[in-house]
Symmetry: C2
Subunit: 122 residues, 2 copies
Amino acid sequence: MLIEIDFNSDEAIYVQLQNQIIMGIAMNLIQEGDSLPSVRQLANTVGINMHTVNKAYSMLKQEGFIRLDRRKGAVIAVDMDKARELLEMKEQLRVLLARGRCKNISKEEVYALVEEIYDEYI
Amino acid sequence: MLIEIDFNSDEAIYVQLQNQIIMGIAMNLIQEGDSLPSVRQLANTVGINMHTVNKAYSMLKQEGFIRLDRRKGAVIAVDMDKARELLEMKEQLRVLLARGRCKNISKEEVYALVEEIYDEYI
DNA sequence: AATTATGTTATAGTAGGACTGGCACAAAAG
DNA sequence: CTTTTGTGCCAGTCCTACTATAACATAATT
């Protein structure tokens, strides 16, 4: 799985790492049980510091996307805490949809976007 | 329109201001043409610095939610750049839905959330 | 047994953003 | 004229992001 960092982005590097890994899981580019490069290895190939990768991995672990195994590195292991995820998603959606509503974006247009994104999952 | 700041939140104050004003517009608590308190006034009532309010207003202006009028203060004036908003919303949704998909949240559950939020708009 | 690679922790430094504070200005309102 | 407005500049504090170096115990490799 290819990971690319935009150093000119205003998004923190560890957030970019997080999001790309999460999207990689959603896209089935990496699956349950697969392992990600080690902290040092990924830091080296991407060209960033070890601690930055470690922070991304730590957060992914805390949020229940990976399990850190000393033998196999960072192993994809998603816990299914839907309740918590639904609550967080609702908070995020509330702000996102409010912005859209101000700009006259209809519910149907939102649904169209969701459909488009789900279609990307093949 | 009541504005409340959570000083213990990890969200920046000016972001909280932005979001509350945007949600205020979406909820019809404030409407096109209405004006918000002046920079100094709002800063005073909320108990924060003038420059923090100014930053929130400046961003809202740049994002096309208000117009700054020296006579009337910050006037609600939403520009309808749907194309840009749809692009931004899609980027945000991509990350949000990826998280959900990893946690086995179905498209139908997402739609249910959207319905719930739209129902809040009365 | 020795070497290497791993996750993890500690400490320290730099850079930038967030927030506050004070001051000042021109423009508009009263 | 006086007050209030948005705006700009400069300075200072605090926190986060990122880097850098070092150290450690554990585990895989040789």
